[in-house]
């Protein structure tokens, strides 16, 4: 790895300020996210867009860029949240250390699940990930002295965030949003770095033609396992953010419905696009938020909209928009 900016900035210097801006996908994404709380009906919704955006972004690495359809991403989302909550509530670990520990442990979990599941492909891969994620769900349900079981994990409210001598009131929704946005920005930089690296090209090669990638001498099995772990790590950071945000961890976070929702979000926003996951998460959550205030039958509307999108915008909202504007898919 070289310096973080080498990937984009050096490649095309001074080719017009707009196209330079468009190539700074992390910078542009952060800029959009920074104004989000003022565009959405509530800050709580904006924070949820951030959280699910990060989770779905991690999943996109696996599904969009590598072409592995997993139905078990909720396991890592939940693991991140539970490990953070347990570290803070039970062991009194400071929040930033708790987040680091949680991501590390979740990555180990992803390695364990990945070793088993990446040996399979297609529908079998989807089923194995689903089954193993359900295993995690039932472990969390049964180990209630650690996880709170059905009642969920409670008792780890973080009300002040202190780092490098700075201390802010974390219960204030605006402060909370920007602290969590910093974590999201970190995840985005990390993902962008992966995609710009030679490894990023390898996983896309695996998606396009696995046989050919293997024939070119790449270790397909190991690449799949690594991308599975990286994807789990990024999604687990979303879980850490959720734990800090809600100050509870609901058991439902590990449910397969959460995995299904993650798949829906990535399809809505556009798989294979950098910012698509955030667009997908925002669309889904806004629809749910707005429609469920109008009618208890909100699921009919969200379901219908989803079907329409899959039928008519298979590249998702963001992917279609980029195509229409003629911006290459490798950018943002």
């Amino acid at each position: 790895m070289t310096s973080p900016s080498s990937g984009e900035a050096v490649a095309k210097p001074a080719s017009g300020s707009l196209s330079w801006l468009l190539e700074q996908r992390v910078l542009m994404s952060v800029a959009v996210l920074a104004v989000l709380p003022w565009l959405l009906p509530s800050q709580a919704l904006a924070v949820n867009v951030l959280i699910y955006g990060v989770v779905v972004m991690g999943y996109n690495l696996l599904f969009g860029y590598t072409g592995l359809l997993s139905f078990g991403q909720a396991a890592f989302f939940g693991a991140g949240a539970y490990f953070t909550g347990i570290a803070i509530g039970r062991y009194g670990v400071p929040w930033f250390l708790a987040v680091a520990i949680a991501v590390l442990l979740s990555t180990c979990l992803a390695a364990a699940i990945g070793i088993v599941s990446t040996r399979t492909r297609g529908i079998y891969f989807a089923m194995v990930t689903l089954a193993l994620a359900q295993l995690v769900y039932y472990v969390a349900l049964q180990a209630s002295s650690f996880t709170g079981g059905e009642n969920g994990l409670r008792g780890f409210t973080v009300d002040r965030i202190s780092l490098f001598g700075l201390s802010v009131n974390f219960l204030d929704p605006v402060n909370k949003y920007y602290v969590l946005m910093a974590l999201a920005a970190l995840a985005m930089w990390f993902q962008s770095r992966i995609l710009n690296s030679p490894f990023g090209a390898v996983i896309e090669a695996i998606r396009e033609n696995e046989q050919r990638a293997r024939a070119c001498g790449y270790n397909v099995e190991r690449s799949k396992l690594i991308v599975f772990m990286l994807s789990g790590a990024i999604s687990s950071l979303g879980g850490c953010m959720l734990a800090l945000h809600l100050s509870i961890v609901p058991l439902d976070i590990l449910h397969y419905q959460t995995s299904g929702m993650i798949v829906m979000m990535v399809l809505l926003g556009g798989a294979r696009s950098f910012f698509g996951p955030f667009v997908g998460a925002a669309t889904f959550l806004i629809l749910e938020d707005v429609i469920s205030v109008w009618t208890p039958h909100w699921q009919i509307f969200v379901g219908a909209i989803f079907v329409l999108f899959v039928l008519f915008l298979p590249k998702g909202i963001w992917g279609t928009l980029l195509d229409t504007l003629g911006i290459g898919k490798a950018r943002r």
């Binding site: 976070i253 469920s292 909100w298």
Partner: protein, 413 residues
């Protein structure tokens, strides 16, 4: 290769101008929202999902409580507004909605929830922010010191109270008891309550079977339960699960062999499956409209509800919505406004009688001390009208002895 340079006309300047203009447009409505005098009560409840019927009753009754106060001129001249939100029976969703209610809608207090996990999630959010929360769903956990705060109030019965009242009426020394239990917090807490009551009475436990939440098929459990040869079968589950489990138990001929007892006999579930299935089933309840023959408050509550809802009768879980919001508003009247510490103080001292007789919040854990009804489902021929569902077997008036002691719950005494 597609190039970004092929996008004409869209210059940085126009892009920036367009972005800021649209941001300004979207921010407009927020500027119009000035501080007003309305008292806002947040009400998260599962309008979608398996408990939707009970949730809708809660909303109707909570709205009635608000309407009655507003009709009398509000609280200190301020109108009261109820903000109902669908928590989808999901703790994470409920926590998010509660955050929204506090941060965006600036509610003065929160009432609601209809599941153990959901109310604990709401409680976690409200207590960290010093907002009063009146829970109207059964839970033993919320009474315990770990989840308690001075802002936490529990209007509903708790599993300990309910099961001991039901057990007193149905179990005798030496009886054999089997359990069918929904495998989540509600079921576990009810089972714990029953076993504790059984031990006190001297009844024997012959077995317990856990079933998954929301199970549709109970046929595999019934033969196993029957082979245990119990005198009483306690079915501890909620909502549709209750109706499904009892229906299938009846199909298997369980009732010929043993008596079916439930911790909470649900008005809506009895309506959903009819009198023949529920005939002879005994269970606890916080409220039943038939109480009106014995109790003036119940008669008044029924009349007010009928007037507001085209002659319909209030249900058990509905009554929680009414007394949960009603007690909070009464305390706000006493406190003369919404200042949190004053309202907490008023709630702690409040003696209220809104649906069924005197109630008050116990000082140490803010549990509402109240009467517990034990009901038996009537057979069809004994029903005077379609709404004449249950016979009142017992009406235990509220006392501190019904509850677990403060020291047992971990509160300083």
């Amino acid at each position: 290769m597609p190039k970004s340079r092929s996008t004409p006309k869209l210059t940085r300047r126009t892009a920036l101008a367009g972005l800021s203009a649209s941001a300004a447009m979207l921010a407009m409505p927020r500027l119009g929202r000035a501080a007003d005098e309305t008292i806002r009560i947040g009400f998260p409840t599962p309008l979608t999902g398996p408990f939707a019927a009970e949730a809708r009753d809660q909303v109707k009754c909570a709205e009635l409580a608000v309407k009655l106060v507003n009709d009398k001129g509000g609280i200190g001249g301020r109108k009261v507004e109820l903000l109902v939100r669908d928590d989808k029976l999901n703790a994470g969703e409920a926590a998010t909605r509660t955050l929204e209610l506090i941060e965006k809608d600036k509610v003065h207090a929160v009432v609601g929830a209809l599941s153990s996990a959901v109310q604990l999630a709401v409680n976690e959010v409200t207590r960290a922010r010093g907002v009063i929360y009146v829970s109207i769903s059964q839970s033993d956990t919320i009474n315990e010191a770990k989840d308690f705060s001075k802002y936490t109030f529990h209007e509903a019965l708790n599993p300990h109270m309910t099961t001991s009242a039901v057990a007193r009426q149905t179990l005798k020394k030496g009886m054999k008891v089997a359990h069918l239990v929904a495998d989540y917090a509600y079921g576990h807490e009810m089972l714990r309550g029953f076993k504790r009551a059984q031990a006190a009475i001297g009844a024997d436990n012959v077995g317990e079977i856990l079933h998954p939440f929301g199970a549709a098929d109970y046929s595999t459990f019934m033969p196993r339960l029957m082979s245990m040869r119990p005198d009483v079968l306690c079915i501890s589950n909620f909502g549709r699960d209750q109706a499904n489990a009892i229906k299938q138990a009846v199909d298997f001929g369980v009732k010929q062999q043993m008596k079916i007892v439930v911790p909470v006999i649900l008005h809506n579930q009895r309506l959903a499956v009819g009198p023949d299935v529920f005939e002879g089933v005994v269970g606890g309840a916080n409220y039943y409209w038939g109480l009106e023959t014995q109790n003036k408050t119940a008669a008044d509550f029924n009349a007010a509800f009928k007037a507001a809802n085209g002659g319909a009768i209030p249900t058990d879980y509905g009554a929680y919505g009414y007394s949960g919001v009603g007690s909070l508003l009464a305390a706000m009247q006493t406190a003369g406004g919404t200042e949190t510490d004053k309202v907490v103080d008023a709630l702690e001292k409040l003696q209220y009688d809104l649906t069924k007789g005197p109630q008050h919040f116990r000082k140490c854990d803010h549990q509402s001390v109240q009467s517990v009804l034990v009901l038996e489902s009537k057979k069809k021929s004994a029903m005077a009208t379609d709404n004449d569902l249950f016979a009142i077997v017992a009406n235990d008036s509220g006392s501190d002895e019904m509850l677990r002691s403060c020291s047992e719950l971990g509160h300083a005494t």
